[in-house]
């Protein structure tokens, strides 16, 4: 598992995909942070952290599929998966190694955004507990997105299809919370609210550390990692 993880990490930075992800993610989040917090504070208004985090989540919907698209699709196209599948490595280890590699790149970028808070500290005394609560919430939401991306990457050998497919699924997972308020039927609303990843993030916006939301995100990770393993098991028996 360690060998695959190391190889994945190396591939992210030799192909440049890791650099592109980090650069664009930090540029988008840095710009959003400057717009909705620093600029607001300097002009004497209240800073708008929930809006900043909404921008971060939307940027993840676009950027994380680019990070996960190559995970399995490229291996399949290059026929290199045969090397891994014929090696003494279990299928869950293979999937987890790829999941943790993508998670490490994303986690490192997210960690870098923590430096932004030192800027707001100059304009007042922010509650760092709440801020880091946000970061943890975003981290677990991102993990769920990565698990979805890896699963979709295992279904195709075309990286573009994997990326666009993942974006579409993530948009649905985020978008249902925006259309939910326009639906009258209580049953449909409760189902959509259960699917909605964004609704679970609400409590973090009010400064509450929501363990049930974390559990929800972790269960999405497990479900999609399990499904990815099943995709490979099914292919072996097909």
């Amino acid at each position: 598992m360690a060998a695959i993880y190391k190889r994945e990490m190396q591939a992210y930075f030799t192909t440049g995909l890791g650099y592109v992800f980090c650069a664009v993610f930090l540029a988008v989040t840095g710009f959003a942070f400057a717009m909705f917090t620093v600029q607001q504070a300097t002009s004497g208004n209240d800073i708008n952290l929930p809006l900043y985090y909404t921008i971060v989540i939307i940027s993840l919907v676009v950027l994380l599929p680019i990070l996960t698209m190559k995970s399995f699709a490229e291996e399949k196209k290059m026929k290199t998966e045969q090397l891994i599948l014929c090696a003494p490595v279990s299928l869950p280890s293979m999937v987890l190694a790829k999941f943790f590699a993508a998670l490490s790149v994303f986690g490192a970028c997210l960690l870098l955004t923590c430096f932004y808070y030192t800027v707001i500290a100059q304009y007042g005394t922010p509650n760092f507990g709440i801020l880091y609560g946000y970061i943890i919430g975003i981290f677990f939401m991102g993990s769920a997105f990565i698990a979805v991306g890896i699963f979709i990457s295992a279904l195709t050998e075309n990286q573009l299809v994997a990326a666009v497919g993942t974006m579409a699924v993530l948009m649905i997972m985020i978008g249902v919370s925006f259309i939910n308020s326009h639906i009258d039927n209580a049953v449909i609303r409760s189902i959509l609210s259960w699917i909605s990843v964004y609704d679970r993030f609400d409590k973090f916006c009010y400064g509450q550390f929501d363990f049930s939301a974390l559990l929800y995100y972790i269960s999405i990770c497990f479900s999609f990692i399990f499904l990815t393993v099943r995709v490979y098991e099914k292919r072996r028996w097909a």
Partner: protein, 321 residues
């Protein structure tokens, strides 16, 4: 070392492998021969655990590939038809990755050095794989199969796409590997396996048609003599004349040019019909424009190996009558 029993693999209604069984002993080089689509790669993929069989059992060094997968996989080094290479890695990085992947316990530096020397890739060790020639890529593919010093080495079409010099080098390498490993080599080229293998398993349409030592198969190959002759003369008369030569079992027209017709002439084992053929043509004043001795192709070998000898005798009697 390898034990395959009643192996079956079907995709929907189509049987890729249909109830095949064979064993391979320790340090034996076995050639797996068959035309494209015969089920060679499917069998190789099942042996290595890449695919699961619909039915049957595979044991590698006493470990069942399905029940004791990890132990079985540790005993196998596999070079698939398309070498599984990461183009963005250097050869050094790639072999180190394979070393970690296979969780080797051998001395890393010494072991990888030995492999690069055996496969002759030391001079490209620090080069990026995507910049290597086809021959070097194939050798890097073989090198990855050797990492961890596995007891069984499975090579699927290892000389495909190589130039004649590289083919000879790879054959020599396989012979060297056979001294310390059990090697299964799959190919659709007969001369390939004749050159290096102790035993041949011939597969066609998912079934084994022969499992014999290479010498026996080679004898079967030379039991028939076959000539291709380009002759100027009236086609019907030439055909009749050649068929009447003692020992000729078959004569067919296979093509024609402006003034000559090409015939394929088959004769009985060990019987050289070139002299009587010359005498016939000289006597009738039919100029001989060309004469080539032909080898047997795979299809002929399948027919030779699968044909029922008693039926063949009856057929011959009918021809003579």
């Amino acid at each position: 070392m390898i034990k395959v029993e009643g192996l079956v693999k079907h995709y929907g209604d189509k049987y890729a492998v249909n109830n095949i069984s064979f064993t391979v002993g320790d340090r034996e080089i076995v050639g797996f021969l068959g035309p494209n689509g015969a089920g060679k790669s499917t069998t190789m993929n099942i042996l290595t655990g890449y695919l699961s069989a619909t039915d049957g059992k595979v044991e590698i060094d006493g470990h069942d590939i399905l029940e004791d997968t990890m132990a079985a996989k540790k005993s196998i080094g596999y070079l698939p038809e398309i070498p599984p290479l990461y183009p963005d890695m250097t050869v050094k990085e790639y072999l180190n990755f394979v070393y970690d992947l296979k969780e080797c316990k051998l001395n890393r530096k010494k072991h990888l050095e030995e492999i690069t020397n055996v496969t002759k890739i030391a001079d490209v060790y620090n080069r990026v794989i995507k910049n290597l020639s086809r021959g070097y890529k194939q050798r890097v593919g073989i090198a990855q199969a050797l990492v961890g010093n596995p007891k069984v080495i499975i090579l699927d079409e290892p000389t495909i796409g190589l130039d004649p010099k590289q083919i000879v080098e790879v054959r020599n390498l396989i012979r060297t590997l056979g001294r310390d490993h059990t090697v299964i080599l799959s190919t659709h080229i007969l001369s390939e396996v004749q050159a290096v293998c102790d035993r041949l398993v011939i597969i066609n349409k998912g079934k084994i048609v022969a499992d014999k030592p290479t010498e026996e198969i080679s004898q079967a190959v030379v039991t028939k003599c076959r000539l291709e002759a380009k002759i100027c003369g009236p086609e019907k008369d030439v055909l009749y004349g050649i068929r009447s030569i003692n020992g000729v079992t078959r004569c067919e027209t296979v093509g024609s040019e402006l003034d000559s017709v090409t015939y394929v002439i088959e004769s009985e084992a060990g019987l050289d019909v070139r002299k009587p053929l010359f005498n016939l043509l000289a006597g009738k004043n039919w100029p001989l424009m060309g004469l080539t001795t032909m080898g047997m192709n795979l299809e002929d070998i399948f027919i030779t190996l699968t044909i029922d000898p008693t039926k063949e005798k009856n057929n011959r009697r009918r021809i003579t009558k």
